[in-house]
């Protein structure tokens, strides 16, 4: 039966919506599970009540330093309506995905090539092994001098944070590809290119996605550092500004936002992992 383009598009949209539904069901399911809801409720209630009831040794309520949940929520709304906080979030996310994206599209091919061929590995790997122990925040001063303050510098720092974990994990997973698979593909006549695209990569896909998760975590760290040190926008900048003016609720809003972003991205990657490795859990 031939399908028209119209039907195909509708089918694709329906499939996409269904997958989106699965994703949110899965992600929300982790957070709002029967087991976790009591813990979450307890945590939120404690957050609300403790700052209001407990006092510091000098008699002032602790809420002066640690804002209760409601105050944070009110501040959040205030920041969204009056300060354009969502613009800052979008700005940060733009930089973050740019940096992470560059890290992914460079680290995975380089890692794959290193894992695939020993002579490439011997020429390239020691360089990365020498450079990678430098903690990414240590790059900040030099990066500011080279790139100045702004998008290139921030993107580079985020890239730097995400690059090494993805590179090394990809390399290791590709190198550890089961020689049986390689042998059977070679006997059938697979070229090295085909081996890389159809065997090495797929064998390593689980480890690669895992490494992107690590990359996301370190990338977020670098996002905050980059925005704190150089920039006029973004969550890290707002956080730093709040520090200067001692606006504690704003700081907490920034922290919670960063936490939620990280959580969401990890959930997305978990979902991707599930979809990409559907062949693993078929039992």
């Amino acid at each position: 039966m031939l399908k028209t383009t119209h039907q195909k598009i509708r089918g694709t949209i329906r499939l996409g919506l269904r997958e989106l539904g699965y994703f949110f069901k899965g992600a929300a399911g982790n957070l709002f599970s029967r087991e976790f809801i009591p813990v979450l409720t307890l945590f939120l209630v404690a957050w609300e009540l403790l700052p209001r009831t407990m006092t510091m040794p000098d008699g002032r309520p602790i809420g002066n330093l640690v804002p209760p949940l409601s105050a944070v929520a009110v501040t959040f709304w205030d920041m969204v309506t009056n300060r354009g906080f969502l613009g800052d979030v979008a700005d940060s996310m733009g930089k973050f995905f740019l940096g992470l994206g560059i890290a992914i599209v460079t680290a995975i091919p380089i890692g794959t090539l290193m894992g695939w061929n020993i002579s490439i590995r011997k020429r390239v790997l020691p360089l990365f092994q020498l450079l990678s122990p430098i903690p990414p925040p240590a790059w900040v001063p030099l990066t500011i001098i080279i790139f100045g303050v702004g998008l290139p510098m921030q993107t580079f720092l985020i890239f730097l944070g995400a690059f090494y974990p993805i590179l090394f994990n990809t390399y290791q997973a590709v190198k550890d590809t089961d020689p049986r698979y390689l042998a059977s593909a070679r006997i059938f006549g697979a070229s090295e290119l085909t081996l890389i695209l159809r065997v090495y990569f797929w064998h390593a896909i689980g480890a690669i996605i895992m490494s992107v998760k690590t990359g996301v975590a370190i990338g977020l760290v670098m996002l905050v550092i980059a925005e704190m040190y150089g920039g006029r926008t973004g969550i890290g900048y707002v956080l730093n500004e709040a520090k200067d003016y001692f606006r504690i609720p704003q700081m907490v809003v920034c922290m919670v936002t960063l936490g939620l972003i990280g959580w969401f991205l990890i959930e997305v990657l978990k979902f991707v992992e599930l979809k990409a490795a559907v062949w693993k859990g078929g039992r």
Partner: protein
């Protein structure tokens, strides 16, 4: 016709006390295998028969001697002098001589191989696995699916086309490996203990399937096994290997016509002759010696 002349394979290893040592996996094995025969390489584990099979398939280079399939050398011998080494480097650049070409899918020889642990790609469905093998052999896109279906039907997997290997039983996975190997219409199939990982009942069925498919196609089958019954039931010729170092100990031709009965007196007599070659030795580190 497969011809192996004086094939030897040495490995260097490092002992637990950090001293270097050499291992002779295969020592001057010469073997001629005629077209259309089923030949079993029989022996205890560690006698170099799997290594020898991989040398036949071009997955390992022999240290000495060479292997020809229909007069064409499977792998050129490894370099032994500095001059040869330089020529080798120039020829293969940074690729291993065991590898195929860089960009173009092209088999070196028309052979297929089946492994004990199946080695079907777990990230491809049953159909994709077979179609991938056909693609590597340069079968045009439109013909791949039809051809794959033909062979999957032959091994009885036509109902599981969209399943992943993880969803199949061990026997079905081995059938898939068989279908994949047969689909490319090879002249020779090399099997490395193909039925060792499945239960006894499934094994007998798989053996019968193999014989049936072999009868339909008439390909050469070289099989490594440590199961004497399997070797007797399937093969035209049994080559018994002995370990330390791995060499050919004895060869038996089996003239019993097919279909054979597993309890055929002639086979049983042969079996006792073969097992008498293996004598149990408790003092020795390895389980059997010959």
């Amino acid at each position: 016709m497969i011809e192996a002349r004086n094939v030897s394979k040495f490995f260097s290893i490092i002992n637990e006390d950090r001293t270097a040592d050499g291992i002779t996996a295969v020592l001057s094995v010469s073997l001629m295998i005629e077209d259309g025969k089923i030949v079993s390489l029989l022996g205890p584990s560690g006698c170099g028969k799997s290594t020898f099979l991989e040398i036949l398939g071009g997955l390992q280079a022999p240290t000495e001697g060479n292997v020809c399939i229909d007069g064409v050398q499977v792998l050129e011998p490894l370099p032994s002098t500095r001059k040869e080494m330089e020529a080798y480097r120039k020829k293969y650049k940074f690729l291993s001589p065991l590898a195929n070409r860089m960009w173009k899918n092209q088999p070196k020889h028309n052979i297929a191989m089946i492994f004990q642990d199946y080695a079907v790609f777990p990230w491809m469905t049953v159909l994709q696995n077979v179609m991938f093998a056909l693609k590597l052999r340069g079968v045009p896109r439109q013909k791949r699916e039809d051809k794959a279906l033909v062979y999957l039907k032959k091994v009885g997997l036509a109902d599981s086309l969209r399943k992943y290997p993880a969803q199949l039983s061990g026997g079905m996975r081995q059938r898939l490996a068989l279908a994949r190997a047969l689909s490319v219409e090879p002249k020779i199939i090399l099997m490395d203990e193909p039925f060792a990982a499945v239960d006894a009942l499934t094994r007998e069925r798989l053996q019968d399937d193999l014989l049936r498919l072999w009868g339909e196609t008439g390909i050469t089958i070289v099989m490594v096994t440590h199961d004497t019954d399997e070797a007797l039931y399937l093969s035209d010729e049994i080559v018994v290997f002995s370990p330390n170092p791995g060499t050919i100990r004895n060869r038996f031709d089996i003239d019993v016509p097919r279909p054979r009965r597993r309890s055929d007196p002639e086979l049983l007599e042969l079996k006792s002759r073969i097992t008498s070659l293996f004598k149990y030795d408790i003092n020795h580190e390895s389980e059997f010696s010959i």
